[in-house]
Assembly symmetry: C2
Homo-oligomer: 193 residues x 2
Amino acid sequence: MATGTRRERERAQREELIVRAARELAEAEGWDAVTTRRLAAEIEYSQPVLYSHFKGKNAIMTAVAAQGFEELVTELRAARTAVRGGPEALAAVAAAYTDFARERPALYDAMFTHAVEVEFATPDGPAYLREGFGELLQAVEPLAGDDDPGVLTETFWASLHGLATLERSGRLPMSLHDERLRLLLGRFTRPKG
Amino acid sequence: MATGTRRERERAQREELIVRAARELAEAEGWDAVTTRRLAAEIEYSQPVLYSHFKGKNAIMTAVAAQGFEELVTELRAARTAVRGGPEALAAVAAAYTDFARERPALYDAMFTHAVEVEFATPDGPAYLREGFGELLQAVEPLAGDDDPGVLTETFWASLHGLATLERSGRLPMSLHDERLRLLLGRFTRPKG
DNA sequence: CAGAATTCCTAGCAGTGCTAGGATCTGGAT
DNA sequence: ATCCAGATCCTAGCACTGCTAGGAATTCTG
């Protein structure tokens, strides 16, 4: 029995190794550079070993994305709790979100453009999704007014996501990012006239 | 010389055939299904013929995207000019934009997620980009207030893009689309308090 | 009608994700 | 210590991708 647990531990370690290697490779050279062959070479095992841990390359990306969600949640929480609340909280959370997307583009891609296997939009989805949305919700809710806070949070999230993706792909110049974020926040914090 | 012009005409026709086939295949089965072999079979020529017209698959996608931009411009213009102006114009343009993304997902992908070769964010970019942005701008401008109309338009565009992509990928349920759009428009038309 | 030039296809390259099959190594029982 | 069952892992290969070199076939020109 003792050997069994050791093997399990080693397997878990290697699985972690795979995810870390995939993430580092993606962050260094983009997801296109993450091929099963290169990944196998990186961890010094053969390709089929990858498939004994994950169903396929997509599952590996999903595992990387899961790490990303965890980290995004902690960053959003840190940003939100660092300020008093109200408009400042929304600004802090928004800046944290777009910073995350800019600084970890490969991670962000895995989370929000690839890896559709993550179950969004369902009440029983992964905990990190509920928590992440919860962080946004807590920042948006005080400013919702008559609007449904949940739907308004979705809308605000979509705006941040749009900014992040368009700026990252070069379709909007990054130089005006702060200004765009300022205008967006202005519109969402503006009280009903 | 007469034969020369005939050949040119035939070449242009075949090029159009390639773009149309790529577009139809993408809209029917998604861009993953658009391989050079299938495309060649569809137009009843061999693969290398594709490369005598386009530098590669990406160039074909760019050509499809160009068609998309032209169509998007006309739809935005139609939506904007159909109403009087002010908030209604913004609502009409926003609905036209998200409708376009939902009804022509493959086209939208080629325009805004793939095909980075299109020169966004430069003054001398393609005409359809300037025109398309101009349509949004004309709808946003009357509501800009003290804000820079151009930057505000970029921000509004990003919000629409975020909604379109998150809803399309299943990360936001499509059922609440109208409500989200309503809230977004409410925030962007709300006068400064 | 022969020669030149264009057009086009066959065949192939290097790469992808993924998998079947057998070799190798490990752990436990005799 | 030995032998066998089972887990572990790798080699080799499949079907596919985008793309290209080289030669065959067709077309136009003198």
